[in-house]
């Protein structure tokens, strides 16, 4: 099955090449969505062998994933994979994410950091954030508590599922929104363990405790718009 990975990247010039090279070992094509970077992200991604789509201005990770997903559908992807650009996701997890779809056991596969494979160097503040996010998700968004990772960025889905999951959050709330849409739909979903490595650089950009209120606000405004 033709598999395309989407890598949203914002000012990731120093790391995107390596990410693209390592992800290409497991998929047919990598699409890097350069989200209005001010550095050479687009050039590095292209040098790494990725197809580059460029946002003229920064629109956020959710918007980039959506743009990349649309590009992948145009390019005839049968499986679409979402991977972070900062090298936080261990590329060796990709076969684990793809397997349930290839075996036709699931339409959407979500990578979870809390299913037995211990994350490397995860700070305590991040752990607290995830506990709070999981509670928020189940209380206010109706996401089942058996979803162990409330903010997973690593996921794979069939082209049909990608067309059906119409997420609109441009920025940080997209993870929760995707989970909500997936778990409320008739799509078959499955969580698989993934390994994540935290570095000082990835921590600078990732979800922080202080972002929790902002995510909640984005979800509130987003739901009121519908």
């Amino acid at each position: 099955m033709r598999t395309i990975a989407i890598v949203p990247a914002y000012n990731e010039g120093s790391r995107v090449w390596k990410t693209v090279r390592s992800v290409l070992n497991f998929v047919d094509e990598v699409i890097v969505v350069d989200d209005g970077s001010r550095d050479d992200t687009a050039v590095q991604a292209a040098l790494g062998g990725a197809f580059v789509v460029r946002h003229a201005i920064n629109r956020g990770q959710g918007a980039s994933l959506k743009t990349g997903t649309e590009a992948a559908l145009v390019k005839g992807a049968e499986i679409i994979l979402h991977v972070d650009a900062d090298g936080q996701h261990d590329p060796n997890m990709i076969p684990t994410l793809l397997e349930p779809i290839r075996q036709k056991e699931a339409d959407v596969v979500l990578g979870s950091r809390f299913m037995g494979v211990a994350p490397t160097d995860m700070p305590v503040s991040r752990r607290i954030f995830f506990i709070a996010a999981r509670t928020f998700n189940s209380l206010f968004l109706g996401i089942p508590r058996d979803v162990t990772d409330p903010q997973s960025g690593a996921r794979a889905m069939t082209a049909d599922a990608a067309r059906r999951i119409d997420f609109t959050s441009d920025r940080m709330a997209h993870c929760s929104e995707i989970l909500r849409l997936v778990t409320r739909s008739s799509l078959r979903w499955k969580e698989v363990p993934v390994h994540v490595r935290y570095t000082p650089e990835s921590l600078k950009k990732g979800q922080k405790l202080s972002n929790a209120a902002r995510i909640a606000w984005e979800l509130l405004v987003g739901s009121a718009r519908r």
Binding site: I57, R59, T67, A71, V74, K75
Partner: protein
């Protein structure tokens, strides 16, 4: 009282500004009428503050001034939320155009 003169003058200015905007077609006439009703009601409350006290007592709030304050907080919150909503809509439009631009080449290749 001087405060009443000041507030009435401010309301008169707001009313004039509203109708000027309507003449310039920045806002629609029904909107101008709605705003005028708000201004006239405010002027009435300023000139006859005891009316708010009567209403406040009916609702179980101690003083008229308190009732006006509570109502203002609710109205301001509503307006602020509406502004956030329109900002969010603008952001969504912006993303739509940025995405369209980003995917222009790939769509062309497909055709």
């Amino acid at each position: 009282m001087p405060i009443q003169i000041l507030l009435i003058a401010a309301i008169a200015a707001a009313c004039i500004a509203t109708w000027k905007r309507a003449r310039e077609r920045v806002i629609r006439v029904p909107e101008a009428i709605a705003w005028s009703i708000v201004w006239v009601a405010a002027a009435f409350v300023i000139l006859k503050p005891e009316t708010t006290s009567r209403l406040a007592n009916m609702l179980g709030v101690g003083r008229g001034a308190d009732l006006v304050l509570y109502a203002s907080v609710v109205a301001l919150f509503f307006l602020m939320f509406k502004i956030f909503m329109s900002l969010d809509a603008i952001e969504k439009h912006l993303t739509h155009f940025v995405r369209k631009d980003a995917l222009r080449d790939i769509e062309k290749q497909k055709k």
